[in-house]
Structure formats: C-alpha cells, structure tokens
Symmetry: C2
Subunit: 166 residues, 2 copies
C-alpha cells in the first residue's frame, strides 16, 4: 500500500504480471488461428464445446454463459451459430420451463476431438517446450490456485449493474 515502485508492486511482481499477460496474448493468438484453420472455430466456441463435453454434454444457457464469462445475449448469438453448424442443439428443460438445455451433438464432440490435437500441439510448442518438467508442475499448481481464487470472486453474467431500484 505504500509506494515504492508502482503502487507497492515491486519490479519483480510487475515483470511477472506483464510477462504473463503478454505470453498468454501471444498464445491465444496462435491458438485462435489454429482453431480457425483446423475447425472453423473461434476460441469462445471452442470453450463452449469443451465445457459441454466436460459437463457430460449438457448445460443450461445461463450456466454455460457463466462458465465462459459471457453475456447471455452473446451466448444466444454463439449458440445460434453453433446450432446452425450442427455442433449443439437446444431444447427444453423438464424441470423448469424457462430454461433451455444446450446439448453437444456427435458432430460437436467429433469436431472437438479433431481440433484438440493441433490445439495441444500449439500449446506444447509455445508453452511447454521451453519449460522443464519441474517448472510445469509449479506453473500448474500455481495457476490452478489462482484460477480457483478468481472463480471465487463475484461473477458477472448475473447482474452487471441493475438491481438498484425496486
């Protein structure tokens, strides 16, 4: 809270932060190109497929939007595209008539499987190659902890700003 360096962050911290942001930016760029080339998928769409696969194939729109940090209308847009492409289907939910259940199709799963190898190869070439095995363990351990911490912070698809007048 005092101010040595920029607001109490020492140069070591600053460097770590900026290196992280830059590295991931570069990685994202390449990954996006790979996904586009190999499966005509944007990164968001890839994420959506991955989440669905990870959740036994089904999620509600809201759950899906939350899991990718996304507005619901944005998800509706993407879901429209992906449904048209045959990667997912949308259907009613037996428990709650308001809810839409998104289901990944066979084609969606197949595409995910087809795209994954190249995706991973990019990650390996850019991220893992320059790291020793030990580094990787540490990085994994650290980032899992960080991610879980971040997840525990308040989300955002829920109430961007309303909820202030009854």
């Amino acid at each position: 809270m005092t101010d040595d360096g920029v607001q109490g962050l020492d140069p070591r911290q600053l460097e770590a932060y900026f290196a992280l942001m830059e590295a991931v930016s570069l990685l994202q760029h390449h990954v996006e190109q790979q996904l586009q080339a190999s499966g005509d998928l944007s990164y968001v769409q890839f994420q959506l497929l991955a989440r669905l696969a990870d959740a036994q194939g089904q999620l509600t729109m809201t759950a899906l939007a939350d899991s990718v940090v996304y507005s619901r209308s944005g998800l509706t847009y993407q879901a429209g595209l992906m449904e048209k492409a045959g990667l997912i289907t949308r259907g009613p939910c037996p428990d709650d008539e308001r809810t839409t259940l998104v289901t990944i199709t066979e084609d969606g799963l197949a595409l995910l499987g087809r795209v994954m190898p190249g995706h991973i190869q990019v990650a390996r070439g850019m991220l893992f190659d320059p790291l020793a095995d030990e580094d990787l363990s540490r990085l994994g351990d650290i980032m899992v902890r960080v991610r879980d911490h971040m997840r525990s912070l308040p989300p955002r698809s829920a109430a961007p700003r309303r909820r202030r007048q009854a």
Copy 2:
C-alpha cells in the same frame, strides 16, 4: 473426453494449460473494466501507451504494431483515436520519410500514471493475493522465460500470408 492423454499431453499439462488460459481471461476482463472506468482506455490502448513509455516515448507504427501483435491497419485506427484524445502524436521520421513516429504526450503519460495504480491493484487482488512470495518468484521466472521463447518465434505483422512467389 477420450483418454490416454490428449495427444501425448498428460492431464497435469492439460490442467496447467487450461487453468492458465482461464485465469488470464478472468484477469483480463477485470483489468479491462478497470481501465475503462478509470481512464476510458481499452486494454490495447493501455498496452500501446505502456510500450511507448517503455521505449522512451517514441516508436514507429510498425514497431508499435509488432510489439502489441496487431495489424498495421488496426494500429492506424487506434492511433487515430488516441491522437484525437491527445494521448499521442504522430509525426515524420527524419531518417526515413516513409516512417511515422508515434510519440506519447504529457497527457498520455499522465493518464498512464493515473490508471496504473488501479490496474496494479486489480492484478494484486486477483493474481498476487493467493500466492506466496515464493510462488510469485517462480511464476515470474517461468513466464519471463516462456514469453521470451514466444517472442523468438516468427512474428506476424510483417507478412500475414503473402510472400509465396518471387
């Protein structure tokens, strides 16, 4: 998912990779909101200002575009906005008449300084808080190495796709 590892990446590597991507996505989101709120800046614009400041205030358009991984036309667009906002100026280069030199203004530097504390605070709250000092050193060390490796890979503003017939 299918198993026996996805293409030779063991689950540990996969988890590290996805945790990294998700954490940085979340971080980016919050940082963007902070920049917007505190300085009416997009993250790209923040990066541009930071690069310029880091380079003693001046860079050519191409150098700037490269340093942010950006198309030159995209940079022209952003530079237009930022010039209009008084954050940078563009002028001729004495050495090479083709080149445009981008210079950060006093206002640009001031804005960068004004925005930085909050920016860092977000990074601290989301990234550094859950980490021990030791973790931070490791993360910094690792990511600097990774970033430098990535930088050493072929860039991209130079020749997007042409250069295939001489």
